[in-house]
């Protein structure tokens, strides 16, 4: 418990630093008024003046930072023109579920395949299975995410003509209409079941397959590599030798004695690869026209929608920092030695 509290306290300087960095980035974009304009083209000089007064934008930067921080903490991050002039917080709430569903499925894929392939690879080190897995893992960290996505699209959509895999959002729009569907959770896989609509479920699933494979590929490769390395480490350990010596079946040795311990370093890497997934989501969503946070943030970046850029960067930083906290806590749970120091 004290460990968790200490970790939480350590977050404070990091979060303050992140906020200063974000503030600095946004301020180097030039006009500090921009994020607070809901409709920049129809803003009168009087309205600008009001915004400057309301947000204290005529103060020097180091004073403005505190006003800005207080606004952020009150949930006022300005407006995003790329989200049709919505307040940034509402834009995030609206676009979050699409990204979350995609990232969650990709994460699931990469953990399952990463751990199982990494384990097999280590257990049968230097076998053909191991060699091909290692090559796959190397390719996984070397190919560009957007290229993988585009090539998958070319093969499945243009060559095999599987039209449900069309890069047009989360389900085929002309076949299904928003108004006919009740969105309970905004996780479309779950919602389609709740709507009792198997055709929609299938359609949503088909739309999810290519983006989630694309997104999962790189992190799967990273997890395979670390899992293989730490399994190899553990398989040489004395407790594995003694487990074998007392006649336990190999399956039990691998599953209970070796893999559990090999999971410890892997957990950290899974947490770190979560950051890669968030970055990958930005690219993947752009390739597949996925209406999530990533696509929004790229449009914001392309059109200097400072409100959007700021909101997205802050959100991702906070999610990433919290994810790492969770990983550290799990790590401490898995490895009692960590809790002692």
């Amino acid at each position: 418990m004290t460990y968790i509290i200490r970790r939480l306290l350590l977050l404070i300087p990091v979060l303050i630093g992140v906020s200063i960095l974000t503030f600095f980035i946004i301020n180097s974009a030039g006009d500090p008024v921009t994020p607070y304009l809901q409709n920049p083209e129809h803003t009168t000089p009087e309205q600008r003046q009001l915004i400057i007064e309301k947000y204290h934008l005529d103060e020097p930067p180091y004073i403005r930072y505190f006003y800005w921080l207080s606004n952020v903490l009150h949930g006022d991050l300005g407006y995003s023109t790329e989200a049709g002039g919505l307040p940034v917080t509402e834009a995030i709430a609206k676009k979050f579920p699409a990204t979350f569903e995609l990232t969650l499925i990709a994460m699931f894929f990469s953990i399952v395949f990463g751990i199982s392939l990494g384990t097999i690879s280590a257990v049968r080190a230097n076998s053909p299975v191991d060699q091909s897995t290692r090559i796959l893992a190397l390719i996984g960290v070397s190919i560009p995410v957007f290229w993988l996505g585009l090539m998958l699209l070319y093969v499945f959509y243009y060559q095999f003509n599987i039209h449900d895999m069309m890069p047009a959002g989360r389900y085929s729009k002309p076949d299904f209409v928003d108004d006919d569907i009740t969105f309970y959770t905004n996780f479309y896989l779950i919602d389609s079941i709740l709507n009792g609509n198997p055709r929609l479920f299938w359609n949503v699933l088909m739309h999810l397959i290519l983006p989630s494979i694309t997104l999962a590929f790189a992190s799967t490769a990273i997890i395979i590599r670390i899992m293989r390395a730490s399994m190899l480490d553990v398989l040489g350990a004395e407790y594995v030798v003694s487990a074998r010596a007392k006649g336990l079946p190999e399956r039990v040795v691998i599953r209970k004695h070796a893999r559990r311990n090999a999971m410890i370093p892997t957990t950290t890497v899974i947490g770190l690869s979560f950051g890669g997934l968030l970055g990958g989501a930005v690219v993947t969503e752009t390739v597949f026209n996925w209406p999530g946070l990533g696509q929004w943030s790229i449009k914001a970046a392309q059109n200097l929608d400072t409100g959007g850029i700021m909101g997205f960067t802050l959100l991702v930083a906070i999610i990433y920092v919290l994810a790492n906290l969770v990983v550290d806590v799990i790590y401490a749970y898995l490895d009692p030695r960590v809790r002692l120091d």
């Binding site: 300087p13 990091v14 630093g17 992140v18 200063i20 960095l21 974000t22 980035i25 946004i26 180097s28 974009a29 190397l138 390719i139 960290v141 070397s142 190919i143 560009p144 995410v145 957007f146 290229w147 585009l150 090539m151 699209l153 070319y154 243009y158 950051g275 890669g276 968030l278 970055g279 990958g280 930005v282 690219v283 752009t286 943030s297 790229i298 914001a300 970046a301 392309q302 200097l304 400072t306 850029i309 997205f312 960067t313 991702v316 930083a317 990433y320 920092v321 790492n324």
Partner: protein, 310 residues
């Protein structure tokens, strides 16, 4: 008889030779180990290939136009032509957009870009890491808390945010990446320095009256850099991967530049019409470039690891 070393006639050359002898021996041994690792050799072959392309692009595709990094236009070929067409070995985009030309000059652009980003990042990271680790105390805290902040945002997203406010173009991509990449090296070097500075030979050097700077650069740094060399090798690939992503997202190189990500972006819309080569070849070259550095980095990690060395 053990002749007192100080009595030997020490010319500058002689002293240099003596100082360098153990390093050269270790380097030879490293190269020997490297030559026995199949994947490192594969990586090295790939990299030599790209290095030749980067050094002598004109041998393979003579420079055209004022700026050789801009893929030239040719109005006599308005439509994309498939690979193997007359004058377009890897096919073309609209208006004679030569994929082959772009790939060759893109190799030079990528190599130079990666060397500059990684070189400057390593320099900044090494200096800060060395100071933080050696000095400790308040300076260490300060440097490391700032480093933590840069490491607490997924790097692609931080690069995108900075590139966005700096505006499109290769020079803003360059700045954005340096701003992000130094932090990794600071952390690695500092961790190493913390361990190395406890060694007896550091105390010995201090007892012998070596100055702080001499201790830092002669005794601590040479024993701390191995992990960051591996990281730098891998990052050469990562930098090119990130640059390609930036260009694909419309935040990196201007359209028409011989930059592989920008070429994929150019071709993405044409893929609908079945013109796969505009996307396939540039993407393949990015993958091979990055793969080369990853293979070499992997091999170097094993070789430089003292536990696995002998």
């Amino acid at each position: 008889m053990s002749a007192d070393i100080t009595e030997l006639p020490l010319t500058l050359r002689g002293r240099l030779k003596m100082a360098l002898a153990p390093r050269i021996r270790e380097l030879r041994f490293s190269l020997h180990l490297l030559s026995k690792s199949a994947s490192s050799i594969a990586g090295l072959v790939l990299l030599i290939f790209f290095l030749i392309l980067a050094l002598f692009p004109s041998l393979f595709a003579p420079a055209r136009g004022v700026d050789p990094y801009v893929i030239p236009f040719d109005a006599t070929h308005p439509f994309p032509e498939p690979p193997g067409s007359e004058g377009f070995p890897l096919g073309s985009g609209p208006y004679g957009y030569d994929i082959y030309y772009g790939i060759i000059w893109g190799a030079r652009l990528s190599m130079v870009f990666a060397i500059v980003v990684v070189g400057i990042s390593v320099l900044i990271g090494t200096i800060l890491g060395l100071i933080a680790g050696y000095r400790g105390g308040v300076i260490d805290e300060l440097i490391m808390r700032i480093t933590d902040v840069f490491l607490s945002i997924p790097f692609l997203i931080l690069v995108i945010a900075i590139a966005a406010v700096l505006g499109r173009g290769l020079d803003s991509s360059l700045k954005a990446m340096i701003v992000v990449f130094w932090s990794g090296y600071t952390r690695i070097i500092r961790g190493q320095v913390l361990a190395v500075r406890e060694n007896a030979y550091v105390d010995a050097a201090r007892a012998a009256g070596s100055g702080e700077l001499r201790i830092m650069f002669r005794h601590i740094l040479p024993n701390s850099w191995a992990p960051s060399i591996v990281q730098a090798t891998m990052d050469m690939g990562t930098v090119v991967l990130v640059l390609a992503a930036l260009s694909y997202l419309g935040l990196g190189a201007e359209p028409g530049t011989a930059e592989w990500g920008a070429m994929v972006q150019e071709g993405a819309d044409w893929m609908v019409a079945g013109k796969w080569w505009m996307v396939f070849f540039p993407g393949l070259v990015i993958s091979l470039f990055v793969l080369g550095f990853n293979l070499l980095g992997d091999g170097m990690r094993d070789i430089l690891d003292p536990k696995m060395r002998r």
